[in-house]
Symmetry: C2
Subunit: 379 residues, 2 copies
């Protein structure tokens, strides 16, 4: 195993009905209450949160309107509001987009310059507001990690930040809050969790990692089995619960601790699809990941064979890739650029955009040419 530092101080409060406890953790504070659309008003989560805040003497100011692939302009607005209202903390009620927005606001609150400086490594985050979460969509694991991804609309860059201060203090994971997640978003979340797990699994440089391998295979198997159940029966509690905890563990640092240097080449390429064409994050990954596997099949043959056997009960590397693609297809996730109306002629443009993130993330082998070659497999 390679050397690593593992640190994750987020408290997870898991279970049906826990949403009504959120006020207890914020007691006596004034918070910026961030959320996305009106859906949390329709499904009752909004009322539960508000009641709990009031019951625990939490004061708050609301800001709604966070969109998928959350944008920098919204972060700026929210920072202004947080400062004007002098809040003590941020409460994010939503999925990855809302939590990531909360993290960017938390980091920007104390910083005199433009918060985007953190994303382009012009400045380091030294202080952040405390963040609390009520999760309503399982996918990104932002509820239990220290990272956030924001899109700068002006520069068409979808970039990330990471800092110890951005771990949420407490995240409430109430599986019933995900009962009303639409099938398309459930599928996106499933893809996201799987690709989070498999970026480390397939790019980790250290060979002897039985713990991490077993954990990843367990979680991928669980995500696949539970996604199918969720799409059939959206109120299957056990399926929602097992999916929720799997998605959180998929990207909280556990499965990559010790695997040595690893990269996020699929996220790198996927982010460009989102930045340029506003493709859903999950959909961007279901398109890119099978293409990446096909491109790398010759060097990943042994690993793919093991993966295919452990996760799909298949024999052979090519069969493992086919099974992965087939699964994405079966849950309604796109696996070709054409399925999200991106013409093959755009590949050069996508590669040009992606290469800037490849540089930022130290993915040295990913030149424009290599990225274009990979994307050809998704054409």
């Amino acid at each position: 195993m390679r050397q690593f530092v593992f640190y994750n101080p987020t408290q997870i409060v898991f279970g049906e009905g826990k949403t009504s406890d959120i006020g207890r953790y914020l007691k006596g504070q004034k918070c910026l209450f961030l959320y996305g659309s009106t859906s949390i008003k329709q499904n009752g989560i909004y009322d539960k949160v508000i009641d709990s805040l009031k019951n625990h003497d939490v004061t708050f100011v609301e800001k709604s309107g966070v969109k998928p692939n959350p944008v920098l302009s919204f972060v700026h607005e929210a920072i202004d509001l947080a400062r004007k209202e002098q809040v003590d903390c941020i409460l994010a009620v939503g999925g990855g987009s809302v939590i990531d927005t909360a993290k960017a606001v938390a980091a920007g609150f104390y910083y005199r310059g433009d918060v985007w400086d953190f994303f382009v490594d012009k400045a380091r985050i030294t202080k952040a507001l405390p963040i609390y979460v009520v999760l309503t969509l399982s996918a990104t694991a932002s509820e239990m990690n220290s990272g956030a991804v924001i899109t700068n609309e002006a520069t068409k860059q979808k970039f990330n930040i990471r800092s110890e201060g951005l771990f949420p203090k407490t995240s409430i994971l109430d599986p019933t809050n995900t009962y009303t997640v639409p099938k398309k978003q459930a599928a996106n979340g499933s893809v996201d969790a799987i690709v989070h797990l498999l970026e480390g699994y397939f790019t980790g440089k250290y060979p002897n990692t039985p713990i991490q391998d077993g954990f990843v295979e367990t979680l991928v198997r669980t995500v696949i089995a539970t996604t199918k159940k969720i799409l059939e029966n959206p109120t299957d509690y056990d399926a929602r619960a097992n999916f929720m905890w799997s998605a959180t563990l998929a990207f909280n640092g556990l499965t990559t601790a010790g695997v040595g240097d690893y990269g996020f080449p699929n996220h790198m390429m996927g982010h460009s699809l989102s930045a340029l064409y506003n493709v859903d994050h999950g959909a961007s990954l279901s398109i890119v990941f099978p293409a990446w596997l096909k491109h790398n099949e010759p060097t990943l043959s042994d690993r793919l064979t093991r993966f295919g056997k452990e996760v799909f009960g298949k024999t052979g590397a090519k069969e493992a890739i086919a099974a992965m693609e087939e699964y994405f297809h079966a849950i309604g996730a796109p696996v070709r650029l054409s399925e999200v109306n991106i013409d093959k002629g755009e590949i050069k443009k996508i590669a040009e955009n992606a290469v800037s993130l490849a540089k930022k993330w130290g993915l040295k082998n990913y030149t424009e040419d290599v990225i274009a070659k990979i994307l050809e497999f998704a054409a």
Copy 2:
């Protein structure tokens, strides 16, 4: 999955050479430096720690002599010393016994009464000194949990405490620090890690827990495979590393989060063997656990069958138990009371002692009669 709270803020710093970084985490503090025997002076760990402390301007007062099955009288002495020297924190260099002692001292430091009050639920821990760890023996996972077990020599009780403040701040896991662990202790650690994993696996009340099951099976497989390698080649880095991380993850809260009510019946009985006859903790468990499985085989048949298949590649519940016992035997761990010179005639006395812990831990079905019946399988 059942509701749960997961919280584990210990920072793990893992890898060869990390021992020399310990001073960095204690910078500017005065610590009580606790350890066991002179073995850390022989294998060079002592010098590395001292050098690192000096390099980072850490002042310290030493106290050595922690014994396996650590005792209350030593805890009392160490609390007196810590108060007299007005230390800011505790540095534990050792295995579970040293870390558990550090936790008891950390908790007792601020308490006016006898620290044993915490163990018999007469008082609650509200404040504790910060704890730092350099691990030299993998077994108990005390380096990444909030519990500690101490034996009261006067009352012959081996009891435990648990409190959020007792999570170590930082634990250094340097696999090379375990190269000189004797075979008997390596075997004890292997048994301890396995039984930690399997208490939850076999007693958890909730049926649909694919994540936890997969994690436990992965870790048990890894512990078994690496123990065999370690006994053959004590300086096999990868084996030591994978064993070390497995043992930590075996009891840091991860594998039991969500499994519902579960118990520690084997630890309950094992603690009595240690309290009454000073049997090593690992050895007490390798004797008790197969007996407990045999007693419970009728009700655990399905679970045992799955376990046998996933971990040993065996078919059948009885075959799973046999494989477990065979493994303990193969690594030199005792599986019968007679192997640690305890006569069958002692069973009544052991059961009488164990039942007080059964009561404390809410193991209602474990009357003296039941405990005696289980122990008969180990006669």
